[in-house]
Subunit: 201 residues, 2 copies
């Protein structure tokens, strides 16, 4: 869009929206127009919500979750079992596990995976803090819920090695056929893993 | 995401982002996380930009464009030819034409198309104002740049009928092969239109 077809405020809004993941320049323009058309119902509340998030959202110093309090709601919840810590790469993974309600323990966000190619070393990740928590005596099990990628695997191995002296058991998520998944569409690695871990019916 | 996995401020932000076109609940969560991670570089400026847009953006009372001034930058520009008015359905179409710099005239946004199915009648669109502008004496040509859809066609016919007494010439965008387009991928309607309007080479 050229400068003279609309105000620079709109131009700036489009540029910022285009930097969101999932939005390109074209969809950012559509989003901006949609916002302007729904001025009171969407534009104003979104401006307020962003300002509130900027004001209040912080990172939990214990687990790395994002929340409006530190320690976060999860870490503070007395109904959660502090003897299990689930290690995830990103906050989005934590949210996904929370939606599934698969675990009633605590979390630890390491902030990525080790990667030789991208030059991400152990000290770039939130791992030392995890070892500290694991060594505190309260923790009995560490569940490694990293992604099932090569880098995720490497990271899981590295963390397991570091946890050797901590007297905690280390587990990882099971591999297998996704619920609702069709065998025909699955890769061979998944099928081999699912076959290896087959269980009595 | 359940309420207890993060603050309600984040939850609210995700809900609002999910209402943008092109973002669903999943990508809204990703966008929210991306915003929180880029707190100073993206979240804060976007909050400011939205507040500024809410404060300043208005709809041009002459042509229906959105801008920070009324009349808009285009309507006020003395270098533009006021004898040509290009009629578009939506502001997004106006922006698209402006990016192409195909026209140095003025615009008129009618805000949609007539539609029997959706119950959109002439009085629901910004058409009367267009007839007024066309009848002012200054206008020589009306270019109908509505979409090449059935409803767009109906609307174009209706507007042409209304303009009969206005002493302006009415034109429409040419149909044909898009520049860079491959014949093999084009529909028959486009090919027929392109063949009919073939020109000496």
């Amino acid at each position: 869009m050229t400068q003279n077809s609309s105000g620079s405020e709109i131009e700036r809004l489009i540029q910022l929206l285009a930097r969101l993941p999932g939005l390109g320049p074209r969809s950012a323009r559509r989003a901006a127009l949609h916002l302007i058309k729904n001025r009171e119902k969407l534009l104003a509340p979104l401006a307020t919500a962003l300002a509130a998030a900027h004001e209040n959202v912080t990172i939990c110093s214990a687990c790395g979750n994002v929340d409006t309090t530190d320690p976060c709601t999860l870490c503070k919840d007395p109904r959660r079992d502090p003897s299990i810590i689930c290690v995830v790469e990103e906050v989005g993974d934590l949210w996904a596990l929370e939606r599934s309600a698969a675990l009633n323990g605590l979390y630890h966000v390491i902030g990525g995976t080790l990667s030789a190619i991208e030059g991400i070393r152990p000290e770039d990740l939130n791992i030392s803090k995890l070892i500290e928590r694991a060594a505190s005596g309260e923790v009995k099990e560490i569940v490694l819920a990293v992604n099932a990628t090569v880098d995720g695997h490497t990271t899981a191995h590295y963390i397991t090695e570091r946890l050797k002296d901590c007297n905690v058991s280390v587990s990882r998520l099971a591999h297998g056929v996704p619920v609702g998944g069709e065998l025909d569409y699955l890769d061979e690695g998944t099928l081999i893993a699912a076959m290896k871990s087959r269980r009595p019916f």
